[in-house]
């Protein structure tokens, strides 16, 4: 199947009066139609910046992009003006951690969804409201006709998150970008929203990129998972490959340091130290200073992303295969 999205050697640099941040340093991946790619990383890993770059959401005057982002063959990084607006409105949709950012508190949810539909499709008022009601039904909001008349603050957190998904899907996008959409939700609500995203993705054959810091969430929704560290993908593979046989020392450390049942009383395997400052482009493996398998060659040059097995890419030059997991 053809690729919906192709990201090649993406670099993103921010300039502020005080400093320069090399947030993304050469990221490449593909997303197919009907596939969910989970991007897992900790704060400052560049996962959100990568995601937002697909819509060029960063302020252009202090952001520098290089590389290529192709959606259905069209180069996103070259888009400006109305082409970019069309991309943001019709082809790619995004949902955020905080639904409050997506809705205007002074209009009803129905009004906002209907307005968006009218603006992008030119439908009549009645048709737009009918479509809005269908959308709320689709995201399993009970009694959707009444909920259309509700203001955002009259909805609970989980309901608002569903409404935001409805808004995102209102213009039939082919790609859905999700930036930690369940992080602020309670556990019993989080699982509902995760299941919803999974179902919608299947029903609508959407391509989804799901950014999260939570391994459990990534495993629950993804077909493939990419792990980011210091602005680079350090490992990318199918979800089963990643859970069963993680290869990069960082992925292994992350799995080992994630607390789960059955670890009680055992000492946790923490990754020592902290992620590097991104003021400079890394000249070696960024994880080397925290890696227990570090060797001199790790510090000689940035390691390439190589295929360990079919469809499983790892950015590590160490002899990890010979080391115990």
């Amino acid at each position: 199947m053809s690729n919906l999205l192709e990201v090649r050697d993406l670099h993103v640099t921010f300039r502020t009066p005080d400093r320069i941040v090399h947030a993304v340093n050469g990221v490449s991946f593909d997303v197919k139609r009907g596939e969910t790619l989970g991007i897992l990383g900790e704060s400052g890993s560049g996962k959100s910046v990568t995601l937002r770059s697909i819509l060029k959401l960063h302020p252009t005057h202090r952001t520098r992009w290089s590389g290529s982002i192709r959606l259905e063959g069209d180069e996103v990084l070259d888009m400006t003006g109305s082409v970019l607006a069309d991309l943001r409105g019709n082809r790619v949709a995004m949902i955020f951690q905080e639904p409050a950012t997506a809705f205007d508190p002074v209009f009803t949810v129905g009004h906002q969804i209907a307005e968006t539909i009218k603006r992008h499709t030119g439908k009549s008022e009645t048709d737009a409201w009918a479509r809005a009601k269908d959308l709320l039904e689709m995201v399993r909001i009970p009694s959707p006709a009444q909920r259309l008349k509700a203001y955002p603050h009259e909805m609970s957190g989980g309901m608002r998150q569903r409404a935001m998904i409805a808004l995102a899907l209102s213009c039939n996008p082919s790609l859905l970008l999700a930036d930690e959409p369940t992080t602020a939700l309670d556990a019993t609500v989080q699982i509902q929203v995760l299941l919803l995203i999974r179902e919608l993705q299947r029903e609508l054959a959407l391509g989804v990129i799901f950014v999260t810091h939570d391994i459990g969430v990534a495993v629950e929704v993804s077909d493939r998972i990419g792990v980011m560290y210091a602005g680079k993908l350090v490992e990318l593979g199918g979800v089963e490959q990643m859970v069963d046989a993680p290869r990069h020392p960082y992925t292994r450390g992350l799995l080992a340091s994630t607390v789960h049942g059955g670890m009680r009383g055992r000492r946790l395997e923490a990754i020592p130290g902290a992620p590097p400052d991104l003021a400079e482009v890394p000249a070696a493996c960024s994880f080397a200073p925290r890696c227990k398998y570090v060797e001199p060659k790790c510090l000689a040059a940035p390691p390439p992303l190589t295929a360990a097995t079919e469809g499983h890419l790892v950015r590590c030059v160490g002899r990890i295969d010979t080391l115990a997991a």
Binding site: P17, E269, A270, I271, G273, A274, D277, P289, P296
Partner: protein, 304 residues
């Protein structure tokens, strides 16, 4: 194995014994504020201009200027650039340059003093209201609201009018005008700081209220309050000048920019540029105070 890594310690082990390295080099808050200020040309220029105005006003008697009170009927309204009178003479033949420099003494004094007084009183009331909250807050802030009901210009005029003209009454009136806004700003920043977990943590440590205010609140609220007060100085200078212009402030023959503007009114058709000079001084000083306050605010907004 020699590993040269600028920021991370490879000898670290897992767990508690880990030596964690800092993410930035140590720099105190005020040091970083100063560093940002040094990089802000607008604020720097404003600071230099203000410094010149203030220094020349303070040092006026020792600058060898001609007597600002000495009138002469024969050399009235000399134009700018006349020999011996760099900026000409006013309607009574007094040296404009000298009067503008001397005028700064009173004008700046009338602008800065009420703000400083209002800062002390309004700041105290506002921090008290903000930190204690509840009924105390309600009482203080409702009283302030009463003052807020009048536009500041009207309030200053009516107070000065009621108390009679003169520098002291102008000071008093302006102080009263500036207490409510300073109090309100102080209250809101204090309320904000009071809500931070570190104040809660300080309360949890069993420290007394005064200690908490001194250590945890003042350090965090004084900056924003001072910045706000700086922006008020320009308003105060304009208001003081306005009161003098209306004849409610400083009395002639004292050199004061507002009053000079008033008395030079008649000369506006004869020598408009000359007549506008005191206004130019007011404009330059107040805009410099304003821009500097903006620059300070930007520089003090250090988050990470």
């Amino acid at each position: 194995m020699a590993i040269q890594s600028p920021s991370l310690d490879l000898t670290a082990g897992a767990g508690t014994g880990v030596r964690l390295t800092p993410v930035a080099i140590t720099r105190g808050y005020w040091q970083s504020v100063a560093r940002r200020l040094r990089r802000d040309p607008v604020t720097l220029v404003c600071g230099v201009v203000l410094l010149l105005v203030v220094a020349s006003a303070l040092a006026a008697p020792w600058l060898g200027l001609s007597d600002p009170y000495k009138t002469s009927m024969i050399r009235r309204l000399y134009p700018i650039g006349s020999p011996n009178f760099l900026l000409g003479t006013d309607e009574l033949g007094r040296d404009m340059f000298s009067r503008l420099i001397y005028g700064g003494r009173l004008s700046l004094f009338m602008g800065v003093t009420p703000v400083v007084l209002a800062l002390l009183i309004g700041g105290f009331l506002g921090i008290t209201a903000g930190f204690l909250g509840g009924r105390v807050n309600m009482l203080i802030m409702r009283i302030m609201d009463v003052f807020y009901a009048f536009p500041s210009v009207l309030l200053a005029i009516s107070l000065s009018g009621a108390m009679g003209a003169g520098a002291e009454n102008t000071l008093l009136a302006l102080t009263l005008v500036f207490i409510p806004p300073i109090c309100r700003v102080s209250e809101s920043v204090t309320t904000q700081v009071r809500g931070f977990d570190f104040v809660e943590a300080a309360r949890a440590s069993g420290a007394g209220t005064l200690t908490i205010v001194r250590v945890h609140v003042l350090g965090n609220v004084l900056g924003p309050i001072l910045v706000y007060a700086t922006s008020l100085i320009s308003v105060a200078i304009i208001l003081a000048a306005g009161l003098s212009f209306l004849g409610l402030g400083v009395k002639p023959p004292e050199p004061e920019w507002g009053l000079m503007l008033n008395t030079l009114r008649q000369a506006i058709y004869v020598n408009p540029v000359l007549a506008a000079l005191p206004g130019v001084m007011i404009f330059i000083t107040s805009i410099c105070f304003n821009l500097m306050s903006d620059g300070l605010r930007a520089a003090m907004d250090v988050k990470a």
